[in-house]
Every structure is written in structure tokens, then in C-alpha cells.
Subunit: 337 residues, 2 copies
């Protein structure tokens, strides 16, 4: 599965290596800062933070901030703190999400809540969010603060919305896209937009990076939704079928439900709304999703957003950082290939 026509392709295609390479020196400092800001005399905090930090996340979001700043010729120090803030916002969200979703595994490791309890997960999430805001304030850019604080409220709003809509098969594709726009794409958008902001670029550059991040985030989430019905826990480092077992209505389900007959819809209602979601039900759900081409349908939409993201970053002047931003788009989509 490839997203882009060969002529458009950045080289090397479908790899996270270019952004790893471009951001490596700064990401080293981001990682040091993350460790130091997760420090506390209250032992539980560094313990939990270290568990999360060592859990093998790709740190995609802070890399976007670094690469976006570099692609706009930023030469100051603020991007490191903003990138660490973005990572803390993300980590805080994961901690709270695992509590809300009652998840036991994330990226193949036990979640913090199963080790230290829901209480500690809630509070350490709050602490990391507080530390994120402290770092942002230190950078001293009101515009960056406005972007990231807005994202923080939007993400939480999206989560609440998903909580209310979670088990309703009446969720429309548009409703679902609005949820992931808030809960995933908003942070990607903010992470990318703060690059031109601290580099003192104009409205056009900000808008391009916001569009890039937002479209990339939407594509990323849709691909995640596909992987939840298509991979194995070993591949993904998460439980395949998690979304199903948690009764989460994602786009593959929405499409399969819309394309299904009355008997199938009754099955979906029983599974998602009444919690009949054992392994047998998951096998049937996966079969229905495949039969109706719901994964392909979801990937097509992801590709559409990927193309938008690509175009938005392609408007930047040529640089290694720009090429890194471009290659991330294909990397995100090619996870399903």
C-alpha cells in the first residue's frame, strides 16, 4: 500500500529515519528535559514517568515540533521546551485515557494504572500537565501558549465526547471524524504549528503547519483504527481488538455497520452496546469488517488526509527538515501495508 505517486515520493520512502536523523541532536535534549521535569521528591512520580518514558513510544509529536521549527530556520532554544511540553501533554493524556478505557496493556507493556492504580495515574497525569505548562511559560511565546492551551481543552472535550458517544452505533462518520479531530489531530496540529510561531513566521506558515499536523494526525488515528482490527499484539505492542472490547465505535465499525444487513447490525448492537464482546464476537466482527471492505475504506480516507498533509509541508522551502516532515506522512500510512 503506498500513499503517494512515485514521482512525489521523498527518499527514503515510508521510513521514520529521516525525521529521527534531522531531530536527533535536539531530541537528545528533549529527552533529557523530559527526564528532569519528570523528577520529583515524591518517588511515585519519577517511577511512573520512567515507566512511560521507557515504554517505547516513538515520540512522534515532539519530533514534529522540532522538525517544524528547524524547517522554519529556527535557531533558538524554545523548540526543545515546547517539544517536551507536547510530549508531557501526550503522556498525561495516555495516563488518563488508560484509566478511562480501563486498559491493561499499552505498547505491549502493562499500563501504569494496572501497576500503580487509577489514583496515581490520574494525579501523575495532572502533574505532567502542570509541568508541561511550566515549560511552555518559560519559552515566553504567548502565541505558542495560546495554541497549546487551546489544544489541551480541545483534546479533553473530544475525549468526553467520545465517552458519551462511545457505545452508540448511531455515531456517524462525521461525528467520529470530529472526535478524532479533537482527541488526536489537535495535538499533532499544535505540535507542528508552534514551529513557525517561535520562528516568528507569518500566518501562512502557521496555517500550513497547522494543516499539516492536523491532516497527519487524522491519517495517523485512522491507521491506528485499522491496525486494531488487522495486526497482532506482538506487531503493534498493543492488544489487537482493544477498541472492540472497549466498545469503541471507530471508523471500520461505522463503515461495516453502514454496509451491513439487519442481522449484522443486530450483531453489532449486541457487541458494542450490550458488551457481548468475547473472542468469538471479535472474530465475527473482524470477518464482517473484512467482508465489507471497511478497512480499505478507512485506509482510503487516511490516504486522503495523508495527501493533504503532504501538500501542506511541500509548500515549505526545501530542507532536510521539510523532507523529514514529508517522509513521516508516508511512514504513518505505510504502517498498514
Amino acid at each position: 500500500m503506498t500513499l503517494l505517486k512515485p514521482a512525489q515520493k521523498p527518499a527514503p520512502a515510508a521510513s521514520i529515519d529521516p525525521i529521527l536523523r534531522v531531530t536527533a541532536p535536539d531530541m537528545k535534549r528533549v529527552n533529557d528535559l523530559v527526564l528532569s521535569m519528570a523528577g520529583s521528591n515524591v518517588e511515585l512520580i519519577p517511577e511512573i514517568a520512567e515507566h512511560l518514558i521507557s515504554s517505547g513510544g516513538k515520540r512522534l509529536r515532539p519530533m514534529l515540533t522540532i522538525a517544524s521549527a528547524l524547517a522554519h530556520d529556527y535557531s533558538g532554544e524554545g523548540h526543545v521546551k515546547l517539544a517536551a511540553s507536547v510530549e508531557f501533554m501526550h503522556t498525561a493524556t495516555l495516563l488518563h485515557d488508560d484509566v478511562v478505557d480501563e486498559s491493561d496493556l499499552r505498547r505491549g507493556k502493562r499500563t501504569a494504572r494496572t501497576i500503580w492504580g487509577n489514583q496515581a495515574s490520574v494525579l501523575v497525569g495532572d502533574f505532567l500537565l502542570g509541568q508541561a505548562f511550566k515549560m511552555m511559560v518559560e519559552v515566553g511565546s504567548m502565541d505558542a501558549l495560546a495554541i497549546l492551551s487551546n489544544a489541551s481543552a480541545v483534546i479533553a472535550e473530544g475525549e468526553v465526547w467520545q465517552l458519551s458517544a462511545a457505545k452508540h452505533l448511531t455515531t456517524s462518520e462525521a461525528d467520529y471524524m470530529a472526535v478524532i479531530d479533537a482527541k488526536t489531530a489537535a495535538l499533532f496540529a499544535a505540535a507542528a504549528e508552534v514551529g513557525p510561531v517561535i520562528a516568528n513566521k507569518g500566518a501562512a506558515e502557521r496555517e500550513a503547519m497547522r494543516d499539516y499536523g492536523r491532516s497527519l494526525g487524522l491519517a495517523f488515528q485512522l491507521v491506528d483504527d485499522v491496525l486494531d482490527y488487522g495486526g497482532s499484539a506482538a506487531d503493534l505492542g498493543k492488544n489487537t481488538g482493544d477498541d472492540f472490547r472497549e466498545g469503541k465505535i471507530t471508523l471500520p465499525v461505522i463503515l461495516a455497520y453502514a454496509r451491513g444487513d439487519e442481522a449484522e447490525r443486530a450483531f453489532w448492537r449486541e457487541a458494542m452496546e450490550n458488551g457481548r464482546n468475547d473472542d468469538e464476537a471479535l472474530a465475527r466482527a473482524t470477518a464482517l469488517i473484512h467482508r465489507h471492505g471497511a478497512l480499505e475504506g478507512t485506509v482510503e480516507r487516511a490516504r486522503g488526509f495523508g495527501a493533504k498533509a503532504f501538500d501542506a509541508a511541500a509548500s515549505l522551502p526545501p530542507s532536510a527538515a521539510r523532507d523529514a516532515l514529508l517522509s513521516v506522512v508516508e511512514f504513518c500510512i505505510d504502517r498498514v501495508s
Copy 2:
């Protein structure tokens, strides 16, 4: 029980009326802003927010921000947004606290988590915190942002600490004071300090208001701890004995434990560390606390902090706002009279 020598007393003594009166016009706008910023298309958010807003809290913290700004001749608009931010920070903390403490009642009303569940409480708390930061950013004062974001991290750190220390009777008075310094006094201090900050006053004024808020917050929390062993649910709008049943080591317990003999200490360990905290145990705990004068000991300390708060605010030039800040100190302490 009176805190202050008659000569020092502001008139009228021991009443919240002076600060209500001084802040009334601005608090009307704070309340409107709180309602509007708690609005969302996601129905659950205004529903939960309204439950909290109508739950009869005194709004002491935002009133401190307003009165502190007025006492420093502030004539702009920023204090209203900062006061609303302070209230949202507090409300978010309450939502998360109730989840962490598994509380069923707050101010005599069912907690949000018992009506809408822990999940919604966590996420709506996150949303309100995001909205708080958005409002702070709109005010445009980096110093105010630094103070409030720092308080946010400190509060969460204090909560985690309390979680780890909660059931250990080895908690010393100093440890406990450090916890309430973080989880209660930090927000009082920040709420008061942002007043002179947005009024462009100097370091001395900032320090005076920070000391005022911090000392008031410590006194307030100690009095709360006393009330938990001394009032009735009807008086307090909260369950008396909550702290005991939640195994929270507060100062009255620390003092009674320190002053108790070995048999009493065994009882305390059984109750607080092993959860033998039924009504009979609560009755014995309350009797021991009274026998050892642990409530009086706690109130004495509260008075000490009250006196510090009083002196800090007394350094301000005379004004109705200053007198209101002074009378709040006595009001807080006289709740135990």
C-alpha cells in the same frame, strides 16, 4: 474561639460579608465567565460543570484574586479571567480528588463521579484545566501564567505525595504540613499573588500577597481537618469522618497518635493502615482525638498561620479590599468556634 486580639479586629468580625461585598460586581462577571467557559457542545460538560457550580461552594479562591487585585488599585479586566481560571483549577482538582478519594458526597451533594462516573470526572476535570489555561493566556501576563502553572504542578505533586503517604502513621507533622502546603496553600497563594502581578506592583507586594494566601490556605486546611472530626454532616455539607474513613492522616490524627500510648497506637494502625474504620472505630478515634487535645492543638497552629496571613495583608494601604482580605482570615478560623 477568636483568632485576634480585639484591637486588631476588622469590623465586622469573623464574617465573609466584607469580601462578598467588595468583590460582588466583579464576581458577577467571574460567575458569568465560569458558566460560559464551562459551555460545550458536548452535553456532559456543561451538565457536570453546572452540578459543581451550583453546589454551594463559597468561591473563596477567586474572591481572593479579585480582592487582591482591587487592594492594589488594579483597574483592568484581567483579574476577572484570572479569578475564573483559579476557580476552574480548583474545580478540576475537586473532580479528580473525588475520583482518587472515592468520595460520595461533597458539600452535602452527591459527587459528580457517583452520578456520571469516574471516567467523565477525570475528563471533564482535564477540560476545565485546559479552559483555565486558555483564560490565563488571554490575560497576557507571563508572570501570572508562571505563578498559576507552577501552582498547578505543585498541587498535583502534593496530591501524589498524599496518596503515597496517606495510610502511613509515620507521617510527621512536617511531612503533613508540606502536603497541605502543596495541595491547598499553593492555590490560595497563587490566587492572591496574581493580584499585585497584574497591577504591576513590585516584588514586596507580590511576596506579601503570596505569604497572605499561603498562610491563609494552611489555616483553612487545618480548620477543615478539625471540622472533619468535630462537626455534623448537616453543618458542614460534607460527611464528618470522611478523612478517617478514607484513611487520611491529618494533623489531628498525627497529634493524637504522637500523644497516645501503645494500645492507642495499635488502634490507629488498625484503623488507618488496615482499614478498620467503621462507625465504632470512628467514635473511638474521635474520643482519642478529644482526649489528647488534638483538635485544640491543630486549631492553635491554624491560628498561628492566620496571624501570619493577617500581618501580611495588614501591610497593604488601607482600603475596603484590604479590610475584606483581613476579615477573611478570621472568618476561616472562626469556622471552628
